[in-house]
């Protein structure tokens, strides 16, 4: 990308070209998208001024270091586990032919449809002392009470690592598999000719080449772990994000909370930039000529079934068991109380909101990526980088940060309308779903930008030169060449953003209008009363609705599936 940018920039500098209105519109859209993301970040920074005095010394010397350590351990654990399960499953599913391969390859992505807070609830129910697992242990071994034997507590740091990893490993699986499937046959053949076995080929060739994809998948999994509140709190793990909430709610110190949130954001930003710098000097691009793809090895007999079993295991543990349990709970809830009469309306609201937000997020993402491609400047590059920060902000904090700018905008609109038409004051943004659309856009822009940017970086710059030589301006180039080529990436981005919108809870809770319930907020109402099971039908609906895009994504034709398209690296 950067080389294209350099060339294009040089080209522009050399010729004093008039900027067309279309180009100006595109660049403005990109800058507006970045400004949108900057809104809550700036608001947070303003809130944080004076926050330092709110943080007592015990806070700085005991609470924060401990929370930071727990957060690091959690991230390390989730990183290691998502990477090993994700990469392992991806390698098996792409390098070998075995019974059930097509089905398992798709289902390995399915756990992504389960929101972390729902997974936490399910695993606590399953593994706590009165749950089915421990009941069975007591029945089989004849123990009278849980005090008679040791069982690892699910509400613990290791428990949280397990729960997060089980729903987040598909991020790594999807990105790594896409790379493995596009592996050039010649590389593998060279390794084989040199006498390497399958294991050595994986360690020496497959894995090193997939590193950027694995890093991209992992960074999504880790950011999601970092910004989570619901699951961490439920599992008794006090991460930095949970601490931010407690600072705000128990200490009445919003400035203190904002300060910690800003510090976290700086660290995340530094890590993301660092990761990008590290990769800058390496190229992982596929060769310009389409490579001959490596054929998967056909396995037979016990080895084939072993691989089937290995791939089925994560599907069973991370998907079949939890969703089966959820379905059972949902059936129980409906049998006991009937379906919530508001259910249809909640489902409708959820899907409509998610669809509208997805359109906005993908459009803004495309504007950002295309502006940087056809009219690159420092501003467009900065906008591109800034746009991904929203994903790192915990939803609740983002919502609070958004309140001030959005209500400010509301006041402006209201005053204008009052002056023009004598309209009564009303909250046009926070009072309607528009505020939520904006919040979703800010939270999930990173996903669409990542997907589109990595796809675009693989289009040869020669295409651009050819189009320009043929007299196409930047807008025509974007419209006639880039957009059609981006088509599959746009679809993939839309699917992933859509799932995240379906699952979104913390920002929705705070920013929604009166009487506005999504499936997630309805579920949350039950959950906070300690009766999550009453909301099981809503939880199941979120998972099932999320599965449609996940399975579509996983089954998509490998040929159109560009490896980095899913990688959403930033």
């Amino acid at each position: 990308m950067s080389r294209v940018a350099d060339i294009a920039a040089g080209w522009r500098a050399g010729r004093d070209r008039a900027v067309s209105p279309g180009e100006r519109a595109l660049v403005s859209a990109a800058l507006a998208a970045a400004a949108l993301v900057a809104l809550p970040v700036v608001a947070l920074a303003l809130l944080a001024t004076g926050g330092a005095s709110a943080l007592s010394s015990i806070y700085l010397t005991v609470v924060l270091p401990r929370a930071a350590l727990d957060t690091l351990l959690l991230l390390a654990g989730v990183g290691a586990m998502t990477a090993s399960v994700g990469v392992g499953a991806a390698w098996l599913a792409s390098a070998f032919l075995f019974p059930g391969r097509a089905l398992l390859s798709a289902l390995l992505a399915a756990p992504l449809a389960i929101p972390t807070y729902i997974a936490a609830y399910i695993w606590v129910e399953l593994l706590e002392p009165l749950g089915p697992v421990q009941r069975a242990i007591r029945a089989v071994f004849g123990f009278a009470t849980p005090a008679d034997y040791w069982f690892p507590p699910i509400r613990s740091l290791p428990g949280a690592i397990l729960v997060f990893s089980l729903v987040l490993f598909p991020y790594v699986y999807l990105t790594a598999r896409a790379v493995f499937m596009l592996q050039s046959a010649s590389l593998l053949e060279v390794a084989r000719t040199l006498g390497r076995g399958p294991a050595a080929i994986f360690w020496r060739v497959g894995l090193p080449l997939a590193r950027p994809a694995v890093a991209a998948g992992m960074s999504l999994a880790l950011l999601e772990t970092l910004n989570d509140i619901g699951a961490s709190e439920y599992l008794g793990v006090r991460t930095l994000t949970v601490t931010v909430m407690q600072t705000w709610l128990s200490r009445n110190s919003l400035p203190g909370a904002a300060l910690i949130a800003c510090a976290m954001l700086l660290i995340v930003g530094a890590v993301l930039i660092g990761e990008r710098r590290m990769r800058r000097d390496r190229r992982f691009a596929v060769s310009v000529q389409k490579p001959r793809l490596a054929e998967p090895i056909r396995l037979s007999g016990a080895r084939a079934w072993l691989v089937t079993g290995l791939c089925a295991l994560p599907v069973l543990v991370a998907f079949v068991i939890p969703v089966g349990f959820l379905a059972y709970e949902a059936a129980q809830a409906v049998a006991a109380r009937g379906l919530d009469p508001a259910f249809a309306r909640q489902a409708m609201t959820t899907v409509t909101l998610a669809a509208v937000a997805t359109l906005v997020v993908v459009a803004l993402g495309a504007a950002l990526v295309l502006a940087q491609r056809v009219a690159p400047s420092r501003a467009t590059l900065a906008a591109l980088r800034l746009s991904t920060l929203g994903y790192a902000v915990p939803g609740t904090v983002l919502a609070v940060g958004l309140l001030a700018p959005m209500t400010g905008l509301d006041r402006m609109i209201s005053q204008t309308l009052a002056a023009l038409a004598g309209a009564a004051p009303a909250l046009w943004i926070t009072g309607s779903g528009l505020g939520l659309v904006a919040a979703y856009a800010i939270r999930f822009l990173a996903i669409s930008v990542g997907a589109l940017e990595s796809a675009a970086s693989r289009f040869s710059p020669h295409l651009d030169f050819a189009a320009r030589t043929l007299g196409r301006g930047p807008i025509a180039l974007a419209r006639e060449i880039h957009l059609p080529l981006l088509h599959p990436a746009l679809g993939a981005a839309a699917l992933l953003v859509f799932i995240d919108c379906l699952k979104e809870l913390p920002a929705t809770l705070i920013l929604r209008p009166l009487n506005f319930d999504t499936l997630a907020t309805a579920l949350y109402e039950h959950a906070t009363r300690g009766s999550f099971e009453t909301g099981a039908p809503q939880a199941l609906a979120i998972v099932l609705a999320g599965m449609i895009p996940v399975l579509t994504l996983a089954r998509r034709n490998v040929v159109e599936l560009d490896p980095d398209e899913l990688a959403r690296e930033r």
Partner: protein, 338 residues
């Protein structure tokens, strides 16, 4: 094209339907779950014809009302903890209400002297004890630090508002230093890391993970009368003991409300508060939610009455609210949640 247009119309309908508030309505921002307050809301609508619109959240509603400013549709903020109620007042989003009805119905210790907040119902933070493994007639909160309970106590996070309020009351009784000692003692007695909610405490006692725990009264009322036999069993395994502070009484907390400073429907809001402390709503609070009424003369639910005679603590709610920050800090100093 028509399809696209109708899709857009539909989306606009769903997203913009709530843009403007109507008259003869009441907009309630609530930290109390809608399901808990729905029976009372419905009764209010039936009695007055005023439609109630709600937003439920777990955090951030005060900030929202504050930033919405003059245009805020919020009439009432319903809060489940006295500390958060006082915080809302401190943020300047409440307005004083002078209502003879409220002043007559609510005892003076359950409302703000300046009329900025009012308690609508009460609950006690009590000890849950295993019927099978313990025999407790009386217990003091101070006793929870007694080493004889080592490895036998369950409790939710010390930073949860319910526990912060309990610890704030402890500070009022014992002072900071002794409260810290007490917290460390309780911490040393825990069977497991603080997590989950009050219902989980009952569940853990039923499962045999711990023998005693701390929780709110209404959760036990709900569990004992639960329709699902599996959950009723948790309730049946637990005996509620009303503890007291030495030289004090049971730690009480309230669900209360403020009228928002810029409430567009102030008249309805006051009418709503007055309805909430009337006999009908108070009975609903008592029977549907197993809470203690604030209105004298309204009987508590028989299940709750079975917990024993209530002797509320002498420490005032305002005192509890004031010490909330210190209490939260002590939780950290004691490493209670680690």
């Amino acid at each position: 094209m028509n399809r696209i247009l109708s899709a857009c119309g539909l989306a606009a309908g769903v997203l913009l339907s709530c843009a403007a508030a109507q008259a003869a309505e009441l907009n309630i921002y609530t930290y109390r779950q809608p399901e808990l307050v729905k029976p009372v809301f419905d009764a209010f609508t039936a009695a007055t014809g005023v439609k109630i619109n709600t937003i439920f959240a777990a955090a951030g509603l005060e900030e929202r009302i504050r930033t919405e400013g003059a245009a805020s549709p919020a009439d009432i903020l319903l809060v489940e903890d006295v500390g958060r109620l006082q915080n809302a007042v401190d943020l300047g989003i409440a307005q004083p209400i002078a209502s003879p009805v409220l002043e007559k119905a609510i005892p003076a210790n359950l409302r703000d002297p300046a009329g900025q907040w009012f308690a609508l119902s009460q609950r006690a933070r009590v000890v849950y004890a295993s019927k099978a493994r313990t025999k407790i007639d009386a217990i003091a909160y101070e006793d929870l630090a007694d080493p004889k309970w080592k490895g036998k106590i369950c409790i939710r996070s010390g930073q949860h508002p319910y526990n912060v309020a309990l610890i704030a009351a402890a500070i009022a009784h014992m002072g900071e230093e002794k409260t810290l000692e007490w917290l460390k003692g309780v911490k040393a007695n825990l069977a497991k890391k603080p997590s989950g909610g009050d219902r989980d405490v009952a569940k853990d006692i039923a499962a045999g993970v711990c023998d005693i725990g701390v929780g709110n009264t209404y959760y036990m009322g709900g569990l004992i009368n639960e329709k699902d036999p599996a959950k009723r069993a948790w309730g049946e395994a637990v005996q509620v003991v009303l503890p007291s502070f030495k030289g004090g009484g049971v730690n009480m907390n309230i669900t209360g409300a403020i009228v928002a400073k810029n409430a567009p429907n102030k008249a309805e809001a006051v009418k709503f508060l007055e309805f909430m402390v009337g006999p009908e709503a108070q009975r609903l609070f008592a029977d549907a939610n197993y809470e203690y009424p604030v209105l004298a003369g309204v009987p508590v639910n028989p299940t709750v009455a079975g917990f024993g005679a209530l002797k509320p603590d002498t420490v005032g709610l305002g005192d509890v609210a004031r010490r909330r920050k210190t209490a939260s800090e002590l939780v950290d100093v004691a490493g209670f949640d680690n």
